[in-house]
Amino acid sequence: MLTESGMRQTSHKIDPFGPRNIYNSKTIGNLTKEDKDRILEVMDPWYLTPKQCARLSGVNLMDIYTNKYVDLGAKNNSAVTRMAEICAIIYEECLPLPPSPFSEFLVGRTSGMDKLDVSFTIDGNKGDGKSYSSLSIGERFGMDMAAINGGSPFDYFSLDNCALLEDTEAITRIMQRAKKRQFILLDDAQVAVGNRDFAQQKNKNFNRILSICRTMRWVICLNTQLSSHIDLGIRDLTDFKLNIFKPNHDRGFNLLKIFSSDVKIKFNKKSFHEKRLSFYDKKFDIWCAYHPDIFAPYKGMAEKYDVLRDEAAQRIISETADEEAEMANPVGKREKEWEETKKKYIPIIRKTIAEDGKVVIRSIVRRTGLHPDRVYRLLGEITYADTKEKEAKAT
């Protein structure tokens, strides 16, 4: 921001989560005058710091809005720095968001004539911002979908569509609830469909959903630390692989790489080809995913998401602790089984004794199919119960 004397203010602070316009391919032609002026103001060499100017190295911010992509020059390490600087300027200076080719591709694919769906994985190290990036992608999808096809962004993506550390049963329940053309986020998908659970019924079921239910036109996002943690059968069916390339949490965005995973079978050999996504005849190397709170309708969703995730983590921890305790000393399970046996067989034994007029073990064994030892134990339980009842009556 320039002062009256024309010098740059050193300590200007703009709220990055303040109001800003979000454009798509249709609306970018109507870039408002305020937005144009703001972009031109930011591009002024007096406005940016010398370091920022050096990093931008002649990239015109206005071109980003008209072209819908950033021309980063020669493909080298500086290109990444340039991209990071541009993303940071857009975020920090609260500039309008340019159209997203990726999001519009998802919208086109899920709402086009052909009955297609999309599924992709996002992988990255712990704390790199996989969840926030996927939330951001989902939110942008919801907004673009609403802008292009009408309705509210929440019709296409909301917290109800997020499965946090859920098992397959819970995920299928979410999918059962989900309507057509929605963005479904499966956070930490390896919990539900991990490669360790290979060929288990739950993985087979999920695979079936993924392969057959394309007519539901969902965008399914599978979050995991390593994409190899997800069952191979499910991984093979995904269309893209997103990778958190450079996290920039302090500057409000993450840099991602997106590859389309293409599986080819030639001479009975399966080979994978990872290609960069290309739009407008350009191969895109780097993608930017902003903080999810940048999208005004979804403001605060990240916070709620964090709370839900904490709860889910607590649930997983307690479930795991119970399982471990049960495995170490399986008393609970045995007692439960014994209670069920008593409930089922004691009435039959009583009936048999009443019919025979006395206790005939062979007759009870024949009727119940139980081992004689168990029958003796059950008889003991009956005697104990009867004694207790008599005592209670006497008192």
Partner: protein, 117 residues
């Protein structure tokens, strides 16, 4: 792998036929440029006009080929009276322009693009 060195040219032992047409054309151009620059070092022995014309003949775009030659002639006229051998200077500068065009056309430098999710 096609091995090329500025002194020896293409190594006879390598199999050029295995290379892709693009790669073959690229090596051919480098070789022609190498020969051209060698010739420019011996201006008394060679015809400069013919040398630059032979180099520009490798330009696949007819229109651009002619434009490059015209720019060479214009540059030669422009440099007259500024000392040195105008023909050689103009030829070398034009060859530089030609190779800038070739680098762009053959996409020697891969460009990078970024997008927003």
């Amino acid at each position: 792998m096609v091995a090329f060195s500025s002194k020896k040219g293409f190594e006879p032992s390598t199999d050029l036929s295995e290379a892709s047409p693009n790669r073959m054309f690229t090596y051919f151009l480098f070789h022609r440029w190498d020969v051209f620059l060698d010739a420019m070092m011996k201006p008394d022995e060679v015809n400069v006009d013919a040398s630059i014309a032979s180099l520009l003949s490798t330009c696949t775009d007819k229109k651009r080929r002619r434009e490059f030659y015209d720019s060479y002639l214009a540059l030669k006229d422009e440099l007259k009276g500024k000392g040195g051998d105008q023909a050689i200077s103009a030829a070398i500068l034009t060859s530089g322009d030609f190779f800038a065009y070739v680098a762009e056309a053959c996409e020697f430098t891969e460009k990078s693009y970024g997008g927003f999710c």
